[in-house]
């Protein structure tokens, strides 16, 4: 803006008009108000209700994980900027905060407990360092940084990443059950006992159910045992309402599908997120789960169970809509969303992991350049045939 400043603040006299120099620049000379940091701020804002839900269900753990992950991301970003000799402007654009929050929301609450706190911080550092900085910073990364961080944690700390604790409203019941098993009163339970209480996630339950039903079919001699076990799981599976509001075991920010849906729709209405990826993703999940349920209702839960459990709703609106890892083109985004949905369902139904959102996103991230090339738009009107 040096030229602009060189315009002397003289009084507007026609005589002075001749001597004035004006800023020379190429058109256009207008821009709308959206900026990178404003968009990131809106994403953060849309995640606040999810954080609130996380705090309600997992109390202090949600706050601690969010703070640790965001701190890890910002620290890594700052170091990366420093090493490259860049300014620290990228700290202010909010993208590292978004990454940190998404990562935190996809971790189990047990990670916030005493001896494990460093893991979340490490996850944040790895997310930015290996997920983003090595590719050259914002916009150049191939993979969703938060998912890279999560994959890292999953490989390094598989046990911690699978230790699910009951939500706060579920706690009294869980304690009572434990006390009954031990034959003591609830008040007599020690702190270690309480800390060690775990619960199954709805998707783990679904995977186990499927396993037992399959075993019952393949091993007729032990049929009754497996049938009974399957029935036990069926009885323990949460109802839809409980699933939708998120009062189930799971990651701190992902359990409440209903809030994720509402906040996600808000992002779409605000024009921050494109509707295409989530729409295609959810549609594929509904069709896939619907078909499986229709074929064997006793083994596979229905579409609504899938939509409301695990990271699906959160992933559809907050992870699959991440700009960087998804194709630029409209049709490409439909394919991307559909691909994520299909992979999630394949992993959930046939894979070794009960949940598949993270792997699905990472795999589709890798396919993004291909999709983009395949869906390269034709210019308006097409080329003239001569």
């Amino acid at each position: 803006m040096s030229e602009a400043q060189s315009v002397p603040p003289s009084k507007a006299e026609p005589a002075a008009v001749q001597e004035r120099g004006f800023l020379v620049s190429s058109a256009p000379h207008l821009a709308d108000r959206a900026t990178t940091s404003r968009i990131m701020f809106e994403v953060v804002l849309a995640m606040v209700p999810l954080l609130a839900a996380g705090i309600y269900f997992f109390r202090f753990a949600a706050v601690a994980l969010t703070v640790l992950c965001v701190a890890g991301c910002l620290a890594a970003e700052a170091v990366a900027n420093r090493m490259r000799g860049w300014s620290q402007a990228s700290l202010r654009d909010g993208s590292a905060v978004v990454t940190g929050m998404i990562l935190a929301f996809s971790l189990p609450a047990s990670m916030a407990s005493g001896s494990r706190f460093y893991m979340a911080f490490m996850g944040g550092v790895v997310a930015i360092a290996l997920g983003k900085a090595v590719f050259g910073g914002l916009g150049n990364n191939l993979f969703n940084p938060a998912m890279v961080g999560r994959a890292f944690l999953m490989i390094c700390f598989p046990a911690a990443m699978a230790a699910w604790i009951p939500t706060a409203p579920m706690m009294p019941e869980a304690k009572a059950t434990l006390a009954a098993e031990k034959g003591v009163s609830v008040d007599a339970l020690g702190r270690e006992d309480v800390d060690a209480i775990t619960t199954a996630t709805p998707l783990y339950q679904a995977a186990k159910l499927s396993e037992y039903v399959a075993k019952a079919e393949s091993e007729p001699e032990k049929q009754d045992v497996f049938r009974a076990q399957a029935q036990k799981i069926r009885d323990a599976m949460p109802g839809l309402w409980r699933l939708a509001i998120g009062n189930v075991g799971g990651c701190v920010g992902e359990t409440s599908a209903l809030i994720a849906l509402i906040c996600g729709l808000w992002l779409v209405v605000r024009g921050v997120a494109d509707w295409r990826s989530p729409a295609a993703l959810l549609a594929v999940v509904v069709v896939f789960a619907g078909l499986a349920h229709w074929i064997n209702p006793g083994r596979f839960p229905g579409p609504l169970y899938h939509l409301t459990s695990g990271a699906l709703m959160f992933g559809a609106f907050f992870i699959a809509t991440d700009y960087v890892g998804a194709p630029l083109t409209a049709s490409g985004r439909l394919i991307f969303g559909a691909g994520v949905g299909l992979l999630v369902m394949l992993i959930r139904t046939f894979g070794a992991y009960p949940e598949g959102v993270m792997f699905a996103i990472l795999i589709m991230n890798a396919l993004t350049p291909l999709i983009e090339r395949a869906t390269h738009p034709k210019p308006f009107g097409g080329q003239l045939q001569t």
Partner: protein
């Protein structure tokens, strides 16, 4: 998104994609056109249209009268230039055009008295065209007179109008669309002309329809000009082959490709080869139609045009009837001058208008407005990394992979840029407008196109030398 839904529900004509910038027409939209009588020397550039430059047909120090032809050339794509006031021609020189080009020009000093007829404004805005029957004009003759009158497209492209109106059996035309969209923010010249002189515009449209052998004429106006819509509706009464359609206030509605898509649902093949005539359409600006009518019916050459001087940086905005060749400095002085916090002066609107470095620039046939912008009004491009949000792609009215083209240009890979169809870009600026990372995408693409043009010209020159 909500705006688009609203427009569609209202049944307005829309095209897909594009943007909704602020209108900012309030500065001058309700101000009647006033005549500007130049006092100082005018500068008449010899290049005021796309095509071959003109050669002077008068000598230095010759006395010329208002409306006399002073320059012409034999090439088919060209238009003559006329004296826009009575006065004395000076010694040929070079002047800066608003586009930044330096071209030969003739200075013209207005005569002491009677440089312009006293009734120039009344004559220009004359609304009594009742006895005129466009059917009585021979198509060939219309085309010929339009050329002789020096009419060029006044929407900004300055393509010689007669060339568009010629009949060609290989490319028949069925519809003439009159472009009254004026989709650029700020500008109100076409708007005022439609309100104050709708009748000659309608005659001009009828003449254009007749010249190119079309069946109908459609006047397209954006929704934010209700008084112009009403005036034009009244003016076409009793002419069944004409129609007024209301378009959404969407940028760039005034672009030929978008306008044809919105009004007729036809897709013009992409630039640089595709033209509206490939979908049997000719698009004419309303001010051009006005000039056609004046030229053909009254024999008046193109000497004046309406220019809006507007923006937050001018003391007294207004719409002026200006002789072509008037200096920006004089016209702006007549508007009370500029305010202290001005940073940019644009020839045209803020989406596509080029800036001028100083005010020693003449109004040419293609300048429909001068927008004077203050610091607070203009955008500041603070580039940060592209985060692949896809806004530039999903708002490009020509469906281009904008960010890829711009990044190819940044890396000087013009071949790659062409692979992404750089030359199809119409430089409308929607992409720069929406980019949250503040990347001046359209500016990069324009620079890339210029580079490609330059490289091609150099290559041609080398080939010539070699063989």
């Amino acid at each position: 998104m909500i705006q688009v839904l609203r427009d569609r529900l209202k049944g307005l004509k829309v095209f897909s994609r594009g943007i909704h910038p602020p209108h900012r027409k309030k500065y001058s939209e309700s101000l009647p056109i006033r005549a500007y009588i130049p006092k100082g020397e005018l500068m008449i550039p010899m290049v005021q249209h796309i095509g071959a430059p003109c050669e002077p047909v008068v000598k230095a120090r010759e006395e010329v009268v208002f409306g006399q032809k002073i320059a012409d050339v034999g090439a088919p794509v060209s238009a003559p230039i006329h004296a826009t006031v009575s006065g004395k021609i000076g010694v040929g020189t070079v002047c800066l055009l608003p586009s930044g080009r330096r071209v030969p020009a003739l200075p013209l000093k207005p005569a002491e008295s009677e440089a312009l007829p006293a009734n120039v404004l009344e004559d220009f805005l004359d609304r009594d065209w009742d006895g005129v029957d466009p059917a009585g004009y021979d198509p060939e003759a219309i085309v010929q007179t339009v050329r002789e009158a020096g009419v060029v497209g006044q929407g900004g492209a300055t393509f010689p109008t007669h060339f568009k109106l010629r009949r060609n059996p290989k490319t028949p035309i069925d519809t003439v669309i009159l472009n009254g969209c004026e989709c650029e923010p700020y500008l109100t010249a076409d708007h005022r002309l439609m309100v104050e002189a709708p009748e000659p515009i309608v005659i001009g449209l009828q003449l254009a329809v007749r010249a190119c052998g079309a069946e109908r004429g459609i006047i397209a106006i954006e929704e934010n000009k209700p008084d112009a819509i009403e005036a034009m509706r009244k003016a076409i009464a009793g002419r069944p082959e004409l129609d007024v359609v209301v378009c959404a206030t969407q940028y760039p509605m005034g672009g030929e490709r978008q306008l044809i898509a919105a009004v007729l649902g036809r897709e013009v093949p992409s630039a640089p080869l595709g033209l509206p005539l490939h979908v049997r359409v000719v698009v004419v600006n309303v001010a051009t139609a006005h000039s056609i009518a004046r030229g053909v019916v009254k024999g008046k050459p193109f000497t004046h045009r309406v220019v809006s001087v507007t923006g937050g940086g001018v003391v007294e905005p207004g719409n002026w009837l200006v002789p072509v060749g008037t200096m920006f400095s004089e016209l702006i002085a007549a508007c009370g001058g500029v305010k202290p916090d001005v940073v940019k002066v644009l020839a045209g609107g803020p989406m596509m208008g080029p800036t001028v470095p100083h005010l020693d620039v003449p109004v040419t046939k293609g300048v429909g407005g001068i927008t004077i912008m203050t610091e607070a009004e203009t955008a500041h491009w603070q580039e940060s990394p592209c985060m692949r949000c896809g806004r530039c792609v999903s708002n490009c009215p020509l469906y281009l992979s904008t960010t890829k083209i711009a990044h190819a240009v940044m890396h000087r890979d013009y071949e790659l840029a062409e692979k992404y169809h750089m030359s199809a870009c119409c430089e409308c600026g929607c992409c720069s407008y929406v980019c949250p990372a503040g990347i001046p995408l359209a500016q990069y693409i324009r620079a890339g196109k210029n580079q490609v043009r330059m490289i091609a010209a150099q290559k041609k020159a080398q080939d010539k030398k070699a063989g």
